[in-house]
């Protein structure tokens, strides 16, 4: 199994542990990752130029297409943006031809052949939890028994569901199932589907902080020890808000790290 790994902008510079743990876990499960010369997914461009956003995204999709690979990303925002661009390219013919023109300047073309996948559904398929398993997966050698974990889904993986095509947007289960597969116990917390606040940190910092703190408080009140993430934006956001006075009873952990630990992979390879 082979994918073009799309890390996005945040992971290499701000959250290298996510790259390390993703590579470690997927290598362990026999997935080959290829590095292409990807650029920004286009998410930040949405606020200035619709075409600019789609051109940015389409360039990456076209690169993967040229390499004959599907795209795998550990970032839910990149997932949402790339899939959003695919939908727009599918439904808007004039946009498609403008984008084709822009890509042609680089000798690239988009036809929609390269699919975009997030790490979580791929892991669910690989360790067999998509078949409704409720016991630790076969790949797990060191079950994280008793660890109470709150799943942070990340908005752009779930919504809009017709674009993200990730899980049921109102009652998703994939993350909890994946947590159960590591032997840990998923925590039911009322704010699990809420926004982490990250998109507002530039425009309205007090509001953003309010949203993040509400989530952290809710996870704590629900008895979670670990806030488990699958998106660099959510993860960095929780860490940033907690950086001043972190609550020792709640720590953030990437899902790839949690799974890596359960697989018995060395902590260093997981960026821990």
């Amino acid at each position: 199994m082979k994918y073009a790994l799309f890390l996005g902008c945040k992971i290499p510079s701000r959250l290298p542990a996510y790259e390390a743990s993703t590579r470690a876990v997927l290598a362990h499960l026999g997935v080959t990752l290829v590095d292409l010369e990807f650029t920004c997914c286009g998410y930040p461009a949405r606020n200035v130029s619709r075409d600019g956003f789609v051109v940015s995204a389409a360039r990456n999709l076209a690169l993967a297409e040229r390499a004959g690979l599907d795209v795998l990303t550990p970032c839910t925002c990149c997932l949402g943006t790339l899939r959003h661009a695919q939908v727009l390219l599918d439904e808007d013919a004039p946009l498609r031809s403008r984008v084709a023109q822009a890509l042609a300047a680089d000798g690239l073309a988009w036809s929609g052949k390269a699919a975009v996948e997030h790490v979580l559904p791929l892991l669910a398929r690989l360790i067999g939890t998509n078949k409704g398993a409720t016991v630790p997966a076969a790949a797990v050698s060191v079950p994280r028994t008793g660890l109470r974990v709150a799943a942070q889904y990340g908005c752009h993986a779930l919504r809009p569901a017709n674009v993200a095509r990730f899980d049921n947007p109102m009652a998703p289960t994939i993350f909890e199932t994946l947590i159960r597969a590591t032997g840990a116990t998923p925590v039911d917390w009322p704010r699990r589907l809420d926004c982490c606040g990250d998109p507002l940190h530039e425009g309205n910092p007090p509001l953003a902080e309010h949203m993040t703190r509400a989530k952290i408080a809710d996870a704590l009140a629900s008895g979670a020890e670990v806030l488990c993430t699958a998106c660099p934006h959510c993860h960095l956001r929780f860490d940033a808000v907690q950086s001043g006075a972190p609550d020792p009873s709640l720590r953030t952990l990437l899902y790839t790290q949690l799974l890596g630990q359960a697989m018995g992979l060395p902590a260093k390879s997981l960026g821990l």
């Binding site: 902008c9 650029t39 606020n47 752009h156 309205n204």
Partner: protein, 568 residues
């Protein structure tokens, strides 16, 4: 060449170069980039330099500095990692040039004391000089090839002084080779030397001339006798006595010798024109011009870039005081060589091309950051440049690739952050910030006043097709589901977080044809794009998508009527 003239020119060039260097280096302590840099004085910055240098010199950090000197400065490790061809070109130019400088230009103070019996016309110096010169020329060729190969729509800004530097370097090399070739081929030079060594008797002179014509490349036009082996043998005896100790066969000068052969037919004419004299003047004075203008040509990077690398090695990253950070940023402006490797790796390069705005790219952004710090970006007449610089600065995703790609190891992320602070201070913050300067209705009023100017270039169709199409929102029944699920609305009961409208009201304004009233709305700009509204809308209205499109439209339309230069 007259020694007095030579020395006068040398000292004048040295003095000019030194004054220029002082002036340029003073900027490292004077130029202020970033709001935190405003809080420190130049004196504090000089103090921070001395403290930093002292603590590095007398601690184990010294090992890092020495390692950086060899690996980063001399061997260019970072360039090797990013572009091997350019690394090869740079290494050839650097070592060729440095060896020529030390062994050839500074021969009286370096080579002569180090190598007793040194003569510039002996082996291996003839060969070495040509080797070094050829290295520089090949380096220049590789450099120019690299520039051509990596040409993009937005090439890094290379000032006229960058071309001047390469041209001057090439000129010095070419005049050097020509001068050497001329001297090899010159009968006049031969006769002057023969006379000085007392070889005047035709019985000795003719065989020597024959030998030098046959084996040393002198282009005599008046050889009377055929070059028989006996004659050459006689010449060799004379040569062994008076010439051999200072002259090796020039064939090892593998560039100059072929040039000398090519010049053979015109050697007499060159002698008549005193080519040896003016070529020497051109060669030496071009070097002096290079020395005097060093602080103002691309050559200056040879000073600033190593300083930047060593300063970085002296202190672990990001552990700089505010004063040291301020100096480091100013130094970065000088240490950047405009190689453009950062641009090649830039995450938003496709967006830069799409928007036609090169200031998204690091090499251009660095210049804009410097222009902002120097004040020229805010001068009247540069309004468009300033707006484009701000657009570029705030579309940067902070991916850090430019910093990793930089062969000089500049901490560009720190520079960008400081630059954004300066932009915000100049009333050019991110759109999400400047849009807050007015209420939604004040923006709408401003748009109404300036409306005629925007009718012709309304970009709605491309920027906000959903809000321009009634079908996308007219099904809204004002049920308030969107508002009820909106986390922004929920959290805005808190003081300081309030939004003016709700998503449902934004939809209603669109239905009423009052789109201009939504553009500056807090709700539109504080939308977290969590898509709860869109997911939950019973009518399937793409509420969040509409919000995001309205922001793009607002950047364009409100940006056109926003008078950022007027005090608000």
């Amino acid at each position: 060449m007259s020694r007095t003239l030579f020395h006068m020119a040398l000292y004048a060039a040295l003095a000019l170069g030194a004054l220029g260097l002082l002036w340029r280096m003073a900027a490292w302590f004077r130029v202020r980039i970033g709001p935190d840099a405003r809080a420190v004085t130049p004196a504090e910055r000089v103090g921070a330099l001395f403290r930093g240098a002292a603590s590095a010199l007398f601690s184990r950090r010294l090992l890092h500095v020495v390692a950086a000197l060899f690996l980063d400065v001399l061997l260019q490790r970072r360039l090797y990692a990013n572009d091997k061809l350019r690394w090869l070109g740079h290494l050839l130019m650097f070592f060729g040039f440095m060896l020529l400088l030390l062994l050839h230009a500074l021969a009286p103070v370096v080579t002569v004391p180090l190598f007793p019996g040194y003569e510039s016309t002996l082996a291996p110096w003839l060969f070495l000089r040509n080797l070094c010169g050829a290295m520089v020329l090949i380096g220049i060729a590789l450099f120019l090839y690299g520039v051509w190969r990596r040409r993009t729509r937005f090439a890094p800004v290379r000032g006229p002084m960058a071309a001047a530097f390469i041209a001057l370097l090439g000129f010095v090399l070419m005049t050097g080779f020509l001068l050497e070739a001329d001297k090899i081929a010159s009968p006049q030079a031969f006769h002057r030397m023969a006379q000085e060594n007392g070889v005047t008797d035709p019985a000795e002179l003719e065989p020597l001339r024959a030998l030098w014509a046959a084996e040393y490349g002198v282009a005599f036009s008046d050889l009377r006798q055929p070059l028989t082996p006996e004659l050459l043998e006689k010449g060799r005896a004379v040569h062994a006595e008076g010439c051999e100790s200072c002259h090796a066969r020039p064939q090892s000068a593998f560039v100059s010798y072929p040039i000398a052969r090519a010049l053979a037919s015109v050697a007499g004419a060159l002698d008549a024109a005193r080519a040896d004299v003016w070529l020497l003047y051109l060669h030496v004075f071009a070097c002096f011009v290079g020395l005097a203008t060093l602080p103002f040509t691309r050559f200056y990077h040879a000073v600033a870039a190593p300083v930047s690398l060593l300063v970085d090695a002296a202190a672990p990253k990001r552990e700089f005081s505010a004063a040291a950070r301020a100096s480091r940023r100013a130094l970065a402006l000088d240490a950047c060589v405009r190689c453009g490797l950062c641009d090649t790796d830039c995450s938003v390069a496709p967006l830069a091309r799409h928007l036609g705005n090169p200031t998204l790219l690091p090499s251009h952004k660095l210049i804009a950051t410097g222009a902002l710090a120097g004040g020229s970006l805010l001068a009247s007449g540069h309004e468009d440049d300033a707006l484009r610089a701000a657009e570029g600065a705030f579309l940067c995703t902070d991916c850090g690739r430019c910093t990793s790609a930089c062969p000089v190891g500049l901490d560009l992320e720190d520079l960008w952050e400081a630059g954004r602070g300066d932009l915000a201070a100049a009333n050019l913050p991110a759109p999400a910030q400047w849009v807050r300067a007015r209420t939604a209705s004040a923006w709408a009023e401003l748009l109404r006043q300036g409306q005629s100017a925007h009718v012709l270039s309304d970009p709605d169709a491309a920027l906000a097709p959903l809000s321009a199409d009634r079908n996308s929102f007219s099904r809204c029944v004002q049920c308030q589901t969107c508002t009820n699920v909106c986390p922004v609305v929920a959290h805005s009961t808190d003081p300081g977080c309030g939004v003016d409208l709700t998503p449902q009201k934004v939809m209603n304004l669109l239905r009423l044809g009052m789109r201009d009233f939504t553009l500056g709305s807090r709700m539109v700009w504080d939308c977290a794009t969590c898509y709860q509204c869109q997911e939950n809308c019973p009518e399937g209205i793409r509420v969040a998508d509409i919000m995001v499109e309205l922001r793009a439209l607002a950047v364009h339309r409100l940006g056109a009527v926003r008078n950022w230069k007027a005090p608000s």
